[in-house]
Amino acid sequence: MATDVETRVDPRLTVGAKMPYKWVALFVIIGAVLPFFLQGYATFQGTLIMIYAIAILGLNLLTGFNGQFSLGHSAFYAVGAYTAAILVYHLDWPVYVTIPFGGIVCFVAGFLFGLPALRLEGLYLALATFALGVSVPQILKSSHLEGLTGGVQGLDIFRPKVPSFLVENFGLTMDQWWYMIAFVIMLFMFWIAWNLINSRTGRAMMAIRDNPIAARSMGINASLYKSLTFGVSAFYTGIAGALAAIVIEFVAPDSFTFQLSILLFIGMVVGGTGSIWGAVFGGFFILTVPNFAEEISTGLSYAIFGIILILVIYVMPSGFAGLVNLLRMRVKKMF
């Protein structure tokens, strides 16, 4: 007995929405074909964009959907990267296995960090995560851990070669192969985020964000959901970190400074807080715009980046995803 309401569900608003298969298919096709039209370097950059997108999506699950702030996601990115690098470098683990493993280690770390952080609301949580973000690079450099982490020098690792039948039949390059791996992982992570958001769990997460007291009164165990969401968010960021370590074939403490946290935060806001696919645009933005600013003027690159950022916020106050939604509504109204 489908009522009127049940049949005209607006995917933009309603939890439990139908996935927009047309758009997803288009996105998958473009994403899969792209590396065959791009230069090797552009393909590599595309891989990094997707890695950032995964991390941004993780941050968005925490902040955009659950209302918890984090300025320390660079720490989880670093933990994911170092987990992968250490397992490959010291223990000779198969590289592919270290990617989910980096995520799982981060899940545990995030969940445990989330437990005491439950007592901290809003700005205080931002400060606590900030402390995490600034301390992890120093810990990685510390002489006590040097044997494991390689200290300031970091660790060099090598990613496995492209399976030979793909080289023989399709002439797949290393960059294209790792682009494809990142692409598949990103799609999988997006699928999970979509499932989570459009479910009982997602509703609970958003209820806590909008009104924690009412959420608890409706029977939502806010502590449990908040710490699990912290863990899942760290899981995403850890997967991204592990992928980054392998793709770049190198980890060093200075790649994971507090600035990376801010960059991920910017990517989230620019992509659209509370949007899943906006993370891709966020990743694109934080990879390309700082480079672009650098090209215009090396000395004033941050000033230029800042100006671009302000312009972007002015044009799209609710992020890229918000702008697209707005345009979609306009177009709908016209016809």
Partner: protein, 271 residues
């Protein structure tokens, strides 16, 4: 076996059963005494009004019953069991639902989502099965959605289902507060000033709604309200508080005549 005796007992004394008893409850914030040894019973199946001038401790008592505040003394029994050890998020599954005085809806979500969150405690799907979208959760989700739409229809609000909460007028949001609380089918519904800010038409609709909630859902209602007309019209029993103490309890007509209540509301002087 246990279950058997339970149901016999409840069938026997259903009419005069006490659903909730507040026993000698005291609350103080620092040096300020908000509640001072308040006791009363809420009989099962009745509509009970809780009245008192501003600052009498009505909302404090409410927040104690829904476990948002801890009591400093006394006990609160629901179906004979103390609830003071249970956390806030278990109240809904125990059978105590509530609405909020100042709207506490989830403003960025649709009406339908808000109502479905009201049924959270009935759901079983966990974080992992939701993340992987396992087949069995679809059924639960469909069932919850159906019930949410049913409640919306009961409240005559089904046409708002897909609107965003923030886009709706105040009076509608007030009704949605009630709808959200109903989805968990509470045995006791705590309504915190449901009439606040409503116009004349909305008020008469509210009287009707409260009665229908009791009659059709079998829900016992505890009503905190400033609007005397509403309380007297709809309640079968009224408890009056003033400065954290119970002044009187009884049927509305008796409370209206009670000298202490009149004095608390009008200062000294006669009617």
């Amino acid at each position: 076996m246990n279950k058997n005796t339970d149901s016999i007992a409840s069938a026997d004394v259903q009419a005069t059963d006490t659903l909730l008893s507040v026993k000698d409850v005291s609350v103080h914030f620092g040096g300020i005494v908000a509640l001072d040894g308040v006791s009363f019973d809420i009989p099962s199946g009745q509509i009970v009004g809780l009245i008192g001038p501003n600052g009498a401790g009505k909302t404090t008592l409410f927040n104690c019953i829904s476990r948002l505040y801890d009591v400093n003394g006394g006990d609160i029994l629901f179906r004979g069991q103390s609830i003071l050890k249970s956390p806030v998020h278990q109240m809904s599954s125990i059978g105590i639902g509530r609405t909020f005085q100042n709207l506490a809806l989830f403003t960025n979500l649709t009406v339908l989502d808000n109502i479905m969150i009201g049924g959270h405690s009935k759901g079983k799907s966990d974080y992992l099965s939701n993340a992987l979208h396992l087949p069995w959760i679809k059924r639960e989700e469909r069932e919850l959605r159906r019930e949410a739409l049913e409640i919306l229809r009961f409240m005559e609000l089904e046409n708002t289902a897909l609107q965003r909460i923030g886009d709706l007028p105040f009076g509608v949001q007030k009704r949605l507060e009630i709808a959200r609380a109903l989805l968990s089918h509470p045995k006791l519904l705590l309504m915190d000033e449901p009439a606040g800010g409503l116009n004349h038409n909305e008020l008469s609709l509210l009287v009707n709604t409260i009665r229908r909630i009791r009659d059709e859902f079998g829900t016992t209602v505890l009503l905190v309200e400033h609007h005397m007309g509403l309380v007297m019209e709809v309640s079968e029993k009224v408890v009056a508080l003033s400065f954290g103490r119970k002044l009187a309890e009884g049927p509305p007509s008796a409370i209206q005549q009670h000298p202490d209540v009149i004095e608390a509301y009008l200062g000294t002087g006669k009617k």
